[in-house]
């Protein structure tokens, strides 16, 4: 079994920092006139997208192509899935065609983990239900690193405020893990109906009043409000949400000068964020998308091209894909366990 990236937990702080360091090299590759290296020549990456996605899917495809890998892309609507083929059969079919890695987006939490049990190929979770979206969190951390600078890749001393529909957000879950792993303090803000029912063990504090936390925020991470949440009676109306938790012009004025505003996209301008505020310099949504490609290159290179020597273990031989790799005993073993 190869290694996989199913959750931010698979990396830990040292792993995130190694991916950041690798991303620097791939950002340099992406800036060239010929943004392509032969690192994954001959590898095949299958993109299994069971949910609609534009940016994540194109970002992974661009990353794979810049590494010279071949991409097998799979759109559910035009595939045998519409004829009733199961996820497992699809994975085994693509595995038989020689896929070295699967990039999986699925509406059910744990789908990527299931896929990793059924295949010897590496698996990247590109979003599973309400659970996790680790490469988005890595792209966000890298964006913050580029913005705040520093060679250490840490977020110590930074206060991140995550606003909105935390309950249904895989992005929020992955980012809470990544931000806190790197040393940031995280506050969740939003209506009680959109908070997870149980936050025991989460290293976060919870606040209802956004105005109170904004003056002390280094990072404001706005989550997308899906319109069906108002239909589910979790919110009285979108206007009510905007009035209490939207980043309006008045609230933007409460932010300290160093603050950065992030959003995983696609943005509902006028709902989570004022249309004019979204275009201000502190809003780094464009950078989040741009940095997605080098970060995903780093993830694919880590999974397929190389071991990932971290600070403490450089020089050690890490498991690489292939039959002679060390076999972790448990499914989805963390990087530490693989070592």
């Amino acid at each position: 079994m190869s290694r996989s990236l199913l959750s931010v937990d698979d990396l830990g702080a040292a792993g995130i920092q190694s991916i950041m360091r690798l991303s620097d090299s791939f950002a340099e590759v992406s800036s060239r006139s010929i943004p392509r290296v032969p690192a994954l020549r001959g590898k095949t990456i299958a993109a299994l997208f069971y949910e609609d996605s534009t940016r994540t899917r194109l970002s992974f495809e661009a990353a794979a192509k810049r590494l010279s890998a071949d991409v097998m892309s799979f759109a559910v609507k035009s595939s045998s899935m519409s004829k009733g083929e199961s996820l497992r059969d699809t994975v085994q079919t693509l595995g038989a065609m020689g896929a070295d890695a699967f990039v999986v987006r699925h509406a059910s939490a744990g789908a990527a983990r299931l896929v990793s049990r059924w295949t010897d190929a590496a698996v990247v979770n590109a979003g599973d239900g309400w659970h996790e979206h680790p490469t988005q969190a890595l792209a966000d951390c890298y964006t913050l690193h580029r913005r705040f600078g520093g060679a250490a890749f840490t977020m110590a001393g930074l206060h991140a405020v995550i606003v909105g529909d935390v309950k249904h957000s895989r992005v929020a879950r992955s980012n809470v893990k990544a931000f806190t792993a790197l040393g940031a303090r995280v506050t969740l803000v939003g209506p009680a109906t959109l908070m997870p029912p149980c936050l025991d063990g989460w290293p976060v504090s919870v606040e209802v009043d956004l105005d109170r936390v904004l003056p002390d925020a280094d990072i404001v991470y706005l989550l997308r409000l899906q319109s069906e949440r108002t239909d589910e009676s979790l919110l009285p109306s979108q206007r009510e949400y905007t009035a209490r938790w939207g980043l309006t012009r008045r609230r933007a004025a409460l932010l300290p000068g160093r603050a950065t505003v992030m959003h995983p996209g696609p943005m509902n301008r006028g709902v989570e964020i004022d249309p004019e505020v979204a275009d201000r310099e502190f809003c780094v949504v464009g950078d989040q998308v741009r940095n997605g490609v080098p970060v995903r290159m780093a993830v694919l290179f880590w999974l397929l091209g190389s071991g990932l020597p971290t600070g403490e273990s450089s020089g050690q031989v890490l498991a690489v894909d292939g039959g002679d790799a060390h076999q972790p005993d448990s499914i989805g073993a963390s990087d530490e366990e693989v070592r």
Binding site: L22, L308, Q316, V320
Partner: protein
């Protein structure tokens, strides 16, 4: 400064144990001065030259050569650094991770690029570097300068400027550092 990248494949890291000092710091600086003059002689000056040091051992040597060439030619010779991890032919056989992002100071099209590394052995690092260089433009010529040539070539590659030819066994390890050149083993 490890030269593990050029050593025989079975050697996978370890701590370098020096057995003999081959060149002292003064010998290295004399060799660099000689190489700088050879570069000027062969290229009839320093115009159009770009130095590219290979991570990690070649980078400080390239920087020293750049300042020597600048003082000989009277005009700044740009120096960059290149990490060839993504171009290696042994990816997947062992952990490979870039030390630092590549930095190329100029468009290489039409320039004479002098690759600088500390040790050449199999030639595979240089092959990878030639592949990487092509992605930065079509250099008019590429020349190779190394501090130590160990032999054991596996590819038809030859250095243009050599600090010292040093016959070695494959299981030996050569370390080039600020303290000079030492030969020993990885243990």
């Amino acid at each position: 400064m490890s030269t593990e990248a050029e050593s025989a494949p079975p050697v996978m890291g370890g701590v370098f144990a020096a057995r003999a000092q081959v060149l002292g710091p003064d010998d290295v600086s004399r060799a660099l001065t000689r190489i700088a003059h050879e570069i000027v002689e062969r290229n009839k000056g320093t115009a159009g030259l770009v130095l590219v040091g290979l991570q990690t051992g070649g980078v400080p040597l390239a920087e020293s050569l750049s300042s020597l060439l600048t003082s000989i030619g009277g005009q700044a010779v740009p120096v960059g650094r290149m990490d060839i991890s993504f171009y290696r032919d042994d990816l997947g056989l062992r952990p490979v991770a870039p030390e630092e992002a590549t930095f190329i100071p100029a468009d290489l099209t039409g320039r004479v690029v002098i690759l600088v590394d500390d040790v050449i052995c199999t030639g595979r690092t240089v092959r990878a570097a030639l592949g990487a260089l092509a992605d930065y433009g079509r250099a008019r010529a590429v020349q190779l300068a190394v501090m130590v040539d160990r032999g054991h070539r596996e590819l038809p590659i030859k250095a243009d400027y050599v600090g010292k030819n040093l016959p070695t066994r494959r299981d030996e390890h050569v370390e080039v550092s600020a303290g000079g050149v030492a030969i020993g083993e990885l243990v």
